[in-house]
Amino acid sequence: MSLTNVKEYFTPSGKDEVLELLQTYGDSALIVAGGSFVHGLDARDLLIGIDALIDIKNIGLDEVRNTSEGLSVDALVTFTELKKAGEIKDRPEFGAVRDALEYPPLQIRNLATIGGNIASACPYFDVPTAIMALDAVVQAQGPAGSRTIDLQSFFAGLFQNALETNEFVTGITFPQLPARSASAFIKLESNANDLAIVNVAARISVDDAGVCQAARLVVGGGVAETPVRAAAAEALLEGSTLSEETVQKAAEAVGTELDPMSDHRASAAYRLAMACTLTRRAVRQAIERLK
């Protein structure tokens, strides 16, 4: 286990210190927030060559706040704290986030952070699927300053994010969505502690006449190396009045856009079938929340 080979555990107190440490240690450094996935990384041999852990809990990135760009969630906000945030609790467009945060057990919710969860670029997680449906973007800090990375670019591959070696995630931002928007997320799991067999997030935005202006259908939980947007299925919903028939067609279309794996959790065929079922249910739930 490479974790025992780690030589240093740093607890910097500001962004500049973090950047200095990243400069010094480069690829042999790992940023740690809640730390709930470090063992998961180690078990997958992803800590080989890591000499230094850089714990960023004390650099003051722990707020949820409304900005002109939208709802900003700092990297160190825990799942428990995010669950309690007023906007997340009350607004229909954040339904998917609420749903996703119900699944992890209490002990994980108290430790896991939004920054760590997203930075892990783990396709088996739930929160990435949910926030992708809301067009969330990642805020990253480097020596040259900060930059914004859209999620699809950020998730570059299996456990690979788009950060440069000297950058770290400082938060995510949910952009302002159209006024009548609602979302939902469903995870299919065989027990309360496991990663998903498959998960789906659906977000719909409608105009005053109830015509769908924008739809997002995201499938994750390990159907590919990153969460996947089912664009063809989305296109079927957009411009429609979201009739039962249309929703059914879109759910079936999701199946044509996926090529999941078979593993000890489920066969590819089962994942495919369940992705369609969950899509139908998540869209229906989002429609309910519009009312």
Partner: protein, 154 residues
């Protein structure tokens, strides 16, 4: 490189020398002999290592000891300050919710936080709250009864 940490464990301020990768679970059992907190999966899934960190239930196997400067840890041994049993512990005993005992301390720590912000929960709420704690002996029935009893204040 070892680091020196000052933290509070069960109400007492203490100084600790830790390796970078050492977990809170390892420190509690090896350096303090607080063996009420158990080691099961050591990877954040079974819950028998559950303690409170600043009042919140966490898996101690995934908390780095090096991150604990000025933090407050409570283990099962520190649940009550005065040697009396917590109502949850009494309920577990009276309801017969303890068999081998390995999961017990972790579940009680989880339930303790849960009951601190949920009064008189129903069965479904309780089962959802302890989803992060596994028991191989009891089938959970008596555990849920015990938590329900403690939660209703009866």
């Amino acid at each position: 490189m070892k680091k020196l940490i000052t933290l509070e464990i069960n109400g007492e301020l203490t100084e600790l020398s830790v390796e970078p990768s050492e977990s809170l679970l390892q420190v509690l059992r090896r350096q303090y002999g607080l063996t009420g907190t158990k080691r099961g999966c050591d990877s954040g899934g079974c819950g028998c290592c559950t303690v409170h960190l600043d009042g919140k239930a966490v898996y101690s196997c995934m908390v780095f000891a090096s991150s604990l400067q000025n933090r407050r840890v409570t283990t099962i041994e520190g649940l009550t300050g005065d040697g009396e049993l917590d109502p949850l512990q009494t309920a577990f005993v009276e309801k017969g919710a303890v068999q081998c005992g390995y999961c017990t301390c972790g579940i009680i720590m989880t339930a303790k936080e849960f009951l601190s912000h949920e009064s008189d929960p129903d069965e479904e709420q309780i089962r959802h709250a302890i989803a992060g704690n596994l028991c191989r002996c009891t089938g959970y029935h008596k555990i849920v009864e015990a938590i329900k009893t403690a939660g209703s204040g009866s």
